[in-house]
């Protein structure tokens, strides 16, 4: 079994009467890519700040890389990298000057390491370009390089790919998987369901509580109580009304140009078709759909 890099037990943080993080327990292993998923205000950042020793827990404890996250936070931070969604780059400096600057801040000015990091994130050809002239995707890679320049064993990424071109986003994740294969542990905090899909295991946070922690597949298998259908019908709104409240249909909603229904497992699509025809709704197609992490979240929150 891989070594435990983060061990969190009963971690709790209160602000007055408000419980921001409520008895959270989980482990993360070396080389894992783990997601911490929840809407804004669900306790993700508070957890992260406790893991980095920036905030003291009200209860519980956290060990990170073998150190007590609060009493030995210096050791934790030396060995951790952090990339925020709102990373600060110096627009008037070139890519490599940005990197050299931050390397100096971390106390690692070794030229060789800077060059190596530039190569690692694929920035070599753009190293002399001013940061302000880089596209969103390249800025994000530069920010990653900055988080990596001191060779952390643990990498925290906060909504790393929000707003980035899907092509650039996929390339970014390939980099992350490469780092993980080399043993770096990656923790991604995000409120985007589709960003969480890139993680091997996902913790679902809501209102300070960790509702589940599992692989995306297992989350879908265990928490979605049935089958997903994509229903194409005309008129759509009448179709929605026709399916609401039908026996066996657990949830139905509009999804752009079609309806998305979750039925109790084993419910035949004929039942959907009949319910629609009964209300004179013209059925085009009913096809099996894919469960999403959003479905999981809605079920867990419901």
């Amino acid at each position: 079994m891989r070594e435990v890099v983060i061990h969190v037990e009963g971690l709790t943080r209160r602000f007055g009467d408000f419980v921001a993080v409520d008895h959270v327990t989980f482990d993360v292993h070396a080389g894992e890519v783990v997601g911490y998923l929840g809407p804004n205000g669900s306790g993700k950042t508070t957890t992260l700040r406790m893991l980095l020793g920036l905030l003291q827990p009200s209860e519980g404890n956290a060990r990170v890389l073998g150190y007590d996250a609060f009493r030995q936070s210096e050791q934790v931070r030396e060995r951790s990298g952090y990339m925020s969604q709102k990373f600060a780059l110096y627009d008037d400096l070139t890519a490599i000057e940005n990197l050299e600057f931050y390397a100096g801040v971390y106390g690692k000015s070794a030229k060789a390491r800077v060059t190596e990091t530039v190569a690692l994130v694929g920035l070599r050809e753009l190293e002399s370009v001013l940061a302000r002239s880089l596209s969103a995707g390249w800025r994000q890679r530069l920010a990653l390089a900055i988080a990596l320049v001191h060779q952390p064993q643990l990498l925290f990424l906060d909504e790393p790919t929000s707003g980035v071109d899907p092509t650039a986003r996929r390339a970014f994740w390939d980099l992350i998987y490469g780092l993980a294969a080399d043993g770096v542990t990656v923790v991604v905090t995000t409120h985007y369901m589709d960003e969480a899909e890139y993680c091997e295991r996902v913790g679902v946070m809501r209102e300070g509580q960790l509702l589940a922690f599992d692989t995306p597949l297992n989350l879908k298998l265990r928490h979605i109580p049935g089958d997903v259908w994509e229903v194409f019908a005309e008129p759509l709104h009448e179709g929605l009304a026709a399916l609401q409240g039908v026996e066996g249909i657990l949830r139905v909603g509009l999804a752009g140009d079609h309806l998305r229904a979750i039925t109790r497992r084993g419910t035949k699509k004929e039942r959907l078709r009949r319910a629609l025809l009964l209300e004179n709704v013209d059925v085009k197609t009913i096809a099996a759909g894919e469960p999403s992490l959003e479905d999981v979240f809605l079920t867990l929150a419901g």
């Binding site: 205000g41 071109d165 890139y198 597949l217 909603g253 509009l254 140009d257 759909g289 894919e290 809605l298």
Partner: protein, 324 residues
């Protein structure tokens, strides 16, 4: 439904619009139309030109060429009339935290020049619509994120706009809140076409594919151009049968193995699976062949099956075509 209403009415018409900033073309020949009752998603990464198009439509920026009509009014020729048709919910809408919910709406109503006789009943009606009526006297600062967002929507609706512009409306909110918000928008676009309440036309901009998937029609924007347009299902048909989901271990080995196959166009890793994009429709023989390749490379397969394409797959496929 009366006869004249049975014709779809284009409430937002953008015709071959160009706009540059300091010599760089941000929008290069964008055309789109949004009809009453329609939700149109302008979808693309940051910097693709979405926000510029939105700002051109609200009249905050002027187009260098081309034309924009809102409810038939030319945005540059008749800006007042055009603007009076628009409700705009920007990503960072401002609320007055010290004012109550009702006072906030009243403020927006007054700014937009609504006579007092009108706004009292109108505010009540809108607060009821968005589900905030019971919180009318609560200070905006005391509202949850989801309620604030509903108040933002209510403020945008106070003038009874026929055109609603939404800029990344559900970024960062709880999926439960997000669903409620979409139900409201969908209701606005599906209200019966009576004289007093016509269905609104919605133009939404977002970089997020899951938000895009909720629109009736989507325009993919990249480098200032719309590279594809259509209903999500029609766009997804491009890749029908061409995406395989592959689960097994070790994933990196599986990925290397299937990449060798001539029919495989692209392989994308996710946390616990791979998505394989094929050059043509998948067949059982092909799936068997891939499985055999993986096994002979020493990999283990848990599942391999065709799955519906996602909008993101389509966007990536289109972008690849653009560069080719």
């Amino acid at each position: 439904m009366t006869n004249e209403r049975s014709y779809p009415e284009t409430l937002i018409a953008v015709e071959d619009v160009h706009r540059s900033f300091g010599g760089t073309l941000a929008v290069r020949g964008v055309s789109l139309g949004v009809r009453s009752g329609e939700i149109y998603g302008l979808v693309g990464p940051d910097g693709a030109g979405k926000t510029t198009v939105m700002r051109l439509v609200v009249g905050a920026l002027r187009a260098e060429s081309g034309r924009i009509l809102v409810c038939g009014f030319d945005v540059s020729g008749e800006p007042e009339q055009a603007r009076s048709c628009i409700g705009y919910l920007s990503q960072r809408f401002s609320l007055y935290e010290d004012l109550t919910v009702l006072e906030n709406i009243r403020f927006f109503a007054e700014v937009r020049g609504l006579p007092a006789a009108d706004w009292v009943s109108r505010c009540t009606q809108i607060l009821e619509f968005v589900g905030l009526l019971e919180f009318a006297d609560r200070r905006a600062g005391q509202l949850s994120g989801g309620m604030k967002q509903k108040l933002g929507l209510a403020s945008a609706l106070v003038t009874r706009p026929r055109v609603l512009l939404l800029d990344e409306p559900t970024t960062g909110v709880d999926p439960v809140t997000r669903q409620n918000f979409w139900q409201l928008v969908i209701r606005l676009t599906s209200l019966p076409a009576t004289e007093s309440e016509r269905p609104v036309a919605v133009l939404l901009s977002t970089p997020y594919m899951d938000e895009a998937a909720r629109c009736g029609r989507v325009g993919f924007i990249r480098d200032g151009r719309i590279i594809a347009e259509g209903a999500p299902s029609v766009l997804r048909e491009r890749l029908q049968g061409r995406i395989l989901e592959l689960r097994g271990a070790p994933l990196h080995l599986l990925r290397q193995a299937v990449r060798q196959d001539a029919d495989v166009d692209d392989v994308q890793a996710f946390g616990d699976r791979l998505h394989v994009r094929l050059r043509s429709q998948s067949s059982a023989a092909q799936i068997d062949r891939l499985a055999a390749m993986i096994r002979s490379a020493g990999g283990k397969i848990d599942a391999i099956r065709p799955i519906p394409a996602a909008l993101e797959d389509v966007f990536i496929d289109l972008s690849a075509g653009e560069h080719a």
